[in-house]
């Protein structure tokens, strides 16, 4: 049985990717999970694994070609699979195919989804589109319906740029309608005036917008804010940096905060969980993968430090640096972005004491660190200069109540106040 594997949605909102390298040839046997192709998107460079075992019967696109999400990448002849078995495969996972959560966005945290096997992968009985589901590059002149052509001309759209969803990729009226940005004159009147201008949304901005909204629409955000006196931490950090002088690494506060949070999460596993509303259950994660919001020129990304609880301060510092470098150079891979269980944003590194960060849905919480400042504090009945770190945390009140959140915050702050406890 022939299976058409479509370019999956890696990181929701990104709607195309560029082929960097093909790993498979036509006629080659592959196992499910084998990398098929290396793709570059706005955000990541990643290998796309095959969802099925079989023989490659067709490959679409050459190196450098842009492939739209949902367009065919390869066709796989599934060995020995009679249509019947194929049906079973499908019934196990109706319509949805395999999805994995991927963390990927900034400050408030943005979440994407990778779809490993696109839906509609079986050829319909009508045999529509069997010939060439996706050869936008090979074909100079797009296949299009007469009305779609007239409409494209009318609206000044290059029809060859439009993704066709009709039989064999034919561009239809609907495709033209959905291709064109909403007609300005209809929605908001003429918006180009001497005092304002418009700019199309970048892919990353679209992703952020979509995921932020998704988080706000699907969770019950609640925020808690606190301050902690961190003079001991400051001193511990500078002494450690002194000791690590020759190691080419400088500790920021982040590794300490990561360790503090990882420890506290172990005590409060509900904050390292996920609510599965559909099946009315909570999924507890036995691993602690912390997403770290990073600002880059292209936009915000949230690479993940996997198994953060098992890493030393210097390991963490190295890893943060390496992720930050990759983020800046747009070299983050999908693996760097996925499977986060909790997120951290250090908005204070730019400025701001308190904030209400947006949870990286479906995670339960995000922890924000504000700017450390010297402030008067009362110590032993006297006003002295203290070093105050403000923190802000947003949690999903559907899963966890305020009391538990306060206990968690207390635990985190006790480590930050007295970092020696991290050694215990």
């Amino acid at each position: 049985m022939r299976y058409i594997f479509k370019f999956p949605d890696i990181g929701e909102g990104l709607d195309e990717g560029k082929i960097i390298e093909w790993y498979v040839e036509k006629g080659q046997s592959i196992q499910s999970g084998d990398a098929l192709v290396k793709m570059e998107t706005d955000k990541v460079v990643t290998d796309i694994p095959s969802p099925k075992s079989g023989v490659i019967s067709a490959r679409y696109g050459s190196i450098g070609d842009s492939i739209k999400v949902g367009s065919a990448l390869v066709e796989i002849d599934i060995e020995g699979v009679e249509a019947k078995d194929a049906q079973d495969i499908n019934q196990e996972e109706p319509a949805k195919a395999v999805t994995e959560s991927v963390d990927e966005e900034g400050f408030g945290g943005v979440v994407g989804t990778i779809e490993l096997a696109g839906d509609g992968a079986y050829l319909p009985a009508g045999d529509e589109g069997i010939s060439s589901p996706n050869e936008p590059k090979a074909r100079k002149k797009a296949l299009a319906t007469p009305v779609a052509r007239a409409m494209a001309k009318d609206l000044g759209i290059d029809i060859n740029q439009v993704v066709g969803t009709g039989p064999a990729g034919r561009v239809t009226k609907k495709d033209i309608e959905s291709h064109r940005p909403p007609a300005p004159q209809r929605s908001v009147g003429s918006i180009e005036t001497p005092r304002q201008r418009t700019e199309p949304l970048s892919q990353i901005r679209k992703t952020i917008a979509k995921n932020m909204l998704r988080s706000k629409q699907n969770t019950a955000h609640m925020a808690i804010m606190e301050e902690v006196e961190v003079s001991t931490l400051i001193e511990a950090r500078s002494r450690l940096n002194e000791a690590l002088k020759h190691d080419q690494i400088k500790l920021s506060y982040l590794p300490f905060i990561i360790q503090a949070i990882a420890r506290a999460l172990k005590k409060h596993p509900v904050l390292n969980a996920e609510l599965d509303m559909e099946n009315e259950r909570i999924i507890y994660k036995d691993y602690i993968n912390l997403g770290i919001a990073m600002d880059t020129d292209d936009g915000l990304v949230v690479p993940v430090i996997h198994d953060a609880d098992k890493k030393s301060l210097t390991d963490l510092a190295h890893e943060i640096k390496s992720l930050a470098d990759k983020a800046r150079e747009r070299k983050l891979t999908l693996d760097d972005l996925k499977d986060g269980t909790f997120s951290i944003t250090s908005y204070g590194s730019i400025g701001g004491y308190f904030a209400v960060p947006v949870i990286a849905y479906p995670q339960v919480a995000i922890f924000g660190i504000g700017r450390i400042a010297q402030k008067p504090v009362v110590k032993d009945g006297e006003i002295v200069i203290g070093n105050i770190m403000p923190i802000s945390m947003s949690v999903d009140h559907r899963i966890v109540d305020g009391a538990e959140v306060s206990r968690f915050v207390n635990d985190v702050l006790s480590y930050l106040k007295d970092p020696i406890l991290l050694l215990a």
């Binding site: 319509a95 079986y122 009985a125």
Partner: protein, 437 residues
């Protein structure tokens, strides 16, 4: 042993679905309590077209002298009903052998028995229980029995009549009724229509209904709305006039034929309620064709069954409903596809009708059937064709040109630009498409 699919009913939904299922490698069993091909093949689509063709031939021979064919004595021309039925039976037998051949070729099994669903994965028939992963109910429909005429003849029984009635009273509504009325009229009988409601053919564009009502009125076929009629033993009186009849035929709207089933599926107006994939309220049990009440046409039934197979294979179906032709096999034939003028108007679309008469069509004139017209309705921005109605000989075939055009989102410009052969009836598309405005 477990089947992938058991199909109950072998009409256009059942047999077409079975062939496709076989081709897709699904282990498939078809169960029908009667004949292969269902209503459509045995009593509906094919037989009615066959006897209508006999009637049209009878008419043609009656008027043979106009064409220069002489020597036929008008008083000796007769309509032999039994021969018309025999011819029909031969056609049906040939087609049903064709289905059997295709089933065999694609590994589809067949069992003649009444089927009963006893669980979502079990069908009982012939005192045996068959296990299956999916069930497709394709048991069709029949005219609802009538309280006013409990003994009315059904359309199936027509073919067993040794002699046809002289003054049949056709009660009901819809295309079947109109075709039958004209059949009787063409062979020299005096049918009476007792209409449940008007319009007689509610799915048709008003232009086609108007044409047909005028045609029937010219042919002196009485059309009596049932609410204004008084029904006596062997006559109907209407507006102080009596219309005697010698037989009643039920050509009413249809109701679903439901198999015995456990679980009970959700019904809507007596038909099996289904979603876009034609899945019933129970997972794995599908219903296609007349039995789901979404349309009462063979090609709609078949198209739905193909979508069921797609669904079982995991293919996503496009959201939009499919467009299909609506044909009436009268003389001349009526055909339409796409939206009616009323539907277009209701959607507030700016539209224009390009109407062209058959009387200027050379081929139609030579064939002696120049009655009729084409109406092409298009929106006014890109001239996209939204609906086509036509009346002509072979309109039921000619409508397919409009079908392809609309499937490809074509406009009147393509019609006008396409070179049509001369002389053909199809030229009317080019003529109408090229009209100004």
């Amino acid at each position: 042993m477990t089947y992938d699919l058991i199909i109950i009913g072998s009409g256009p939904a059942g047999y077409v679905g079975a062939i496709k299922a076989g081709q897709r490698g699904l282990k498939t069993l078809v169960i029908d309590k009667k004949y292969i091909g269902g209503m459509c093949l045995n009593w509906g689509c094919i037989p009615t077209k066959s006897i209508l063709e006999s009637a049209k031939t009878y008419q043609k021979v009656l008027h043979a002298a106009d064409f220069g064919v002489t020597g036929i004595k008008a008083e000796e021309i007769a309509f032999d009903w039994q021969q018309a039925v025999t011819r029909t039976r031969k056609i049906v037998a040939k087609l049903s052998r064709g289905i059997e051949f295709l089933w065999k070729k694609n590994g589809v099994e067949f069992l003649r028995a009444e089927a009963k669903i006893i669980s979502p994965t079990q069908v009982e028939a012939d005192k045996r229980v068959f296990e299956t992963k999916n069930i497709l109910i394709a048991t069709g429909s029949r005219p609802a029995p009538r309280d006013d005429f409990p003994d009315a003849l059904s359309l199936e029984d027509l073919y067993s009549l040794p002699v046809l009635p002289e003054k049949p009273l056709l009660v009901g509504r819809g295309a079947n009724l109109v075709e039958l009325a004209q059949f009787f009229q063409m062979i020299g009988k005096a049918p009476i229509i007792l209409a449940d409601d008007l319009p007689l053919m509610p799915a048709l564009d008003a232009s086609l209904e108007d044409f047909m009502l005028k045609k029937m009125s010219k042919a002196k076929i009485p059309l009596i709305p049932v609410i204004d009629a008084q029904i006596k033993d062997k006559s109907v009186s209407y507006k102080d006039k009596d219309y005697p009849f010698d037989m009643v035929i039920n050509a009413g709207f249809r109701s679903a034929v439901l198999p015995q089933m456990e679980p009970q599926l959700k019904l809507e107006d007596g038909f099996i309620a289904t979603d876009r994939r034609h899945m019933s309220s129970t997972d794995g049990i599908y219903a296609a064709g007349d039995v789901n009440g979404k349309g009462y046409l063979a090609h709609v039934a078949s198209a739905q069954a193909l979508e069921v197979i797609d669904s079982i294979m995991g293919v996503d179906l496009p959201d939009e409903e499919r467009r299909y032709p609506l044909n009436i096999y009268t003389d001349p034939e009526l055909a339409q596809i796409g939206m009616t003028e009323a539907q277009i108007k209701a959607q507030g679309i700016d539209y224009q009708v390009k109407q062209y008469s058959m009387s200027a069509n050379g081929k139609a004139l030579t064939e002696g059937s120049s009655e009729g017209f084409i109406r092409i309705i298009h929106e006014t921005k890109y001239n996209q064709v939204l609906g086509v109605q036509m009346v002509s000989a072979n309109a039921t075939d000619l409508i397919s040109e409009a079908g392809i055009l609309m499937e490809l989102e074509g406009s009147t410009y393509e019609l006008a630009r396409t070179i049509h052969a001369h002389p053909t009836v199809s030229e009317i598309y080019m003529d109408a498409g090229g009209m100004d405005g």
